[in-house]
């Protein structure tokens, strides 16, 4: 077996990466997890998680991250604040270029997650941080007793709109279809909430204001009718895009850019595995991410065992 720096490098420190790290550390692999921003990934901005089993009352995203991290570290997982700039997968020994050095490894688990998608509506970029946001837990209190808009109809859009109602006077929930996509329990809560007014069959066409957001325009996709709503904030939750910029060609992606894998979390490149939101998966939740992470670590261990034979 060739001499390399690591058996396994895990790229990304959200729930998928941390779960993979826990399993890999317990398997006594020579492993490192690199996280380029902060450990926890998207759940850091989640106010309350109530569908992750084991916590009947629910818990905050940051608290869950802390528990994941503690548990992985207890078994010796090495977590480093660093970014994978590029990867070279042309050889069985893979090379990863970090900010400060290049490392070699037998296997990689890509757990880089996904980021909130932008709509590219006029004004969206300009007013980011000035009323346009995708983080209710960061910004909701700034809109106390104000009127805001939220765009989307999935779990995140509905859940975060419900969170907003604790602060704001009213939420216009703008959705492009005539029914929501979110979990049924969330739909029920949204429909029953007097502060949420759903604008059906409509899309955001623009955000206007002077220094901060003042108005938005929405268009009904069926009647083509356009109207202006007076709001102080506009939250955008229209899905996610995969974080795969650092990847070179060679790994098979689906039509939306998510990494394709089989049931063992094996990608199209031997020795490269994937876990969590960056994978083409039907559901992006903490519960599914940790499952992916466990399988990916197990598969990586198995792959390394075979190299030794």
């Amino acid at each position: 077996m060739k001499n390399v720096d690591y058996d396994l490098v895990i790229i990304g420190g959200g729930p998928a990466g941390l779960a993979a790290g826990l399993y890999a550390a317990r398997a006594r692999l020579k492993v490192i997890l690199v996280e380029k921003v902060v450990v926890g990934g998207q759940i850091v901005i989640s106010d309350w998680i109530e569908n992750y089993p084991g916590f009947p009352e629910g818990l905050s995203g940051p608290d869950l991250v802390q528990k994941f991290t503690e548990q992985a570290k207890r078994f010796g997982l090495n977590i480093e604040n660093n970014a994978a700039v590029s990867v070279d997968l042309s050889d069985p020994v893979k090379r990863i270029v970090f900010n400060d050095r290049t490392v070699t490894t037998h296997t990689i688990i890509i757990a880089t997650g996904a980021s909130p998608k932008k709509l590219d509506a006029p004004g969206e970029e300009m007013f980011y941080g000035k009323g346009v946001s995708s983080c209710a837990t960061c910004d909701a209190p700034f809109f106390k007793d104000r009127i805001v808009a939220a765009v989307g109809g999935g779990d995140t859009a509905v859940k975060e709109s419900l969170f907003l109602t604790r602060f704001v006077k009213k939420v216009y929930l703008i959705h492009r279809r005539d029914r929501l996509r979110a979990e049924m329990i969330l739909q029920e809560q949204a429909l029953a909430n007097e502060k949420i007014e759903i604008i059906w069959d409509s899309v955001l066409t623009g955000i206007q204001g002077f220094t901060n957001v003042e108005n938005i325009t929405v268009q009904n996709v069926k009647t083509k009718e356009e109207k202006t709503l007076s709001v102080d904030g506009c939250f955008i939750w229209v899905g996610e895009m995969p974080n795969t910029k650092f990847l070179a060609d060679g790994i098979k992606l689906d039509e939306k850019g998510f990494i394709v894998a089989n049931l063992n979390m094996e990608t199209s490149v031997p020795g490269v595995f994937v876990a969590g939101d960056v994978r083409n998966t039907p559901l992006r939740q903490v519960a599914t991410a940790v499952g992916d992470g466990a399988v990916a670590a197990f598969s990586a261990g198995h792959y390394i065992e075979n190299l030794k034979k």
């Binding site: 106010d47 941080g129 700034f142 220094t211």
Partner: protein, 107 residues
């Protein structure tokens, strides 16, 4: 509180930030803000590394409503880098440590 990070507010903003001799980084945060908790340790590391040349401060936006309004803050964490009373750079949201280092060392 972490070593080298000074808690400032509306009443001390002028003396601690605008009149300061050294450049000043202000971390606008609040207890309810999860991402602020996440970025806190990174700011602490930077304070350890650059504390000699840069003054590190934090401002609780709940207790100090005037300053965040003055600087148009609608989202936290927001980090603003001041020099001679002027805004040199502003970062909204969680970013990589390297981006913050860049902000500090580029001045």
């Amino acid at each position: 509180m972490a070593k080298g990070i000074i808690e400032i507010g509306d009443s001390s903003f002028d003396s601690e930030v605008l009149q300061a001799e050294k450049p000043v980084l202000v971390d606008f945060w609040a207890p309810w803000c999860g991402p602020c908790r996440a970025i806190g340790p990174i700011v602490e590391e930077l304070a350890e590394a650059f504390g000699d040349t840069v003054k590190f401060t934090k401002c609780n936006v709940d207790e100090n409503p005037v300053t965040p309004t003055k600087y148009g803050i609608k989202s936290i964490p927001t980090l603003i880098f001041f020099k001679d009373g002027k805004v040199l750079d502003k970062i909204v949201g969680i970013v990589a440590k390297s981006r913050l280092e860049e902000m500090i060392t580029n001045t």
